[in-house]
Symmetry: C2
């Protein structure tokens, strides 16, 4: 049987709590860095996905970002309103939405390249430790898949 020690309900021992706080805290580091471009962090993640491949469908983006289409649908409309993305129906399958980077969206990539360095610098942690963290988080994600 699993042994969780003395008080398994102690707040400061909950991995779920640490995950929530760490996630919010790291996103807070991005906020001022993304603000000049009018982007939120979830929108930034969509841009990362599109910089890797564009155009992509909502379903495809959802698979990459682990999001429901219901979350992405309004988010993509905001990215379109910002001028970083176009939304159009696929000609081969009218059910699909073709999400494609605009010129402005592509151009933003050059600006964004500075962001990871600034974030790591602000965190002030070793890259090796962050890579180790990424590895454990990936195992957590795989364990819940």
């Amino acid at each position: 049987m699993i042994d969780l020690g003395e008080d398994p309900l102690k707040l400061d021992r909950q991995v779920c709590f640490a995950l929530s706080v760490a996630s919010r805290s790291v996103i807070a580091i991005y906020r001022p860095l993304l603000e000049p471009y009018g982007l939120t962090h979830p929108q930034y993640l969509v841009m990362l996905a599109l910089w890797e491949r564009s155009p992509r469908s909502v379903k495809d983006l959802g698979a990459a970002l682990r999001h429901d289409p219901a979350t992405l649908s309004p988010l993509l409309k905001r990215l379109e309103a910002l001028g970083y993305v176009t939304r159009s129906r696929s000609r081969t399958d009218e059910r699909r939405l073709t999400v494609e980077l605009t010129e402005a969206g592509r151009a933003l990539r050059a600006e964004a390249e500075k962001i990871p360095y600034k974030v790591v610098e602000t965190l002030g942690m070793d890259v090796s430790e962050l890579e180790a963290l990424h590895g454990v988080l990936t195992r957590v994600i795989d364990a819940t898949a």
Copy 2:
């Protein structure tokens, strides 16, 4: 200078992305476990804090949970509506809100004690690895404090 290797914008290498997904994924494990009690995960975290000490003020809960009062205020009203908590103004300082467990709120603790075990079991990861993860997350949180 920091070296982030080949492509620092690659989605699958972002710690922030892994954090978001892992956080959402772990919370998803709690959802069916909390549903019988009508609790969301953030509400559950408030209950954990109150099981450690009750009554507490909104400010005190906010410090423990790393939340603004603006986030807690409506959340606490819902906990009150659920019958787990009472909200009343402090007699010594009318600005303060006294958040206190009800009998039902206290009783819920016995039920909740099973939850951490079920979560760890569902995750299927070693407790030692989860403790290590907790340690790294704590360092991330401290680095952003």
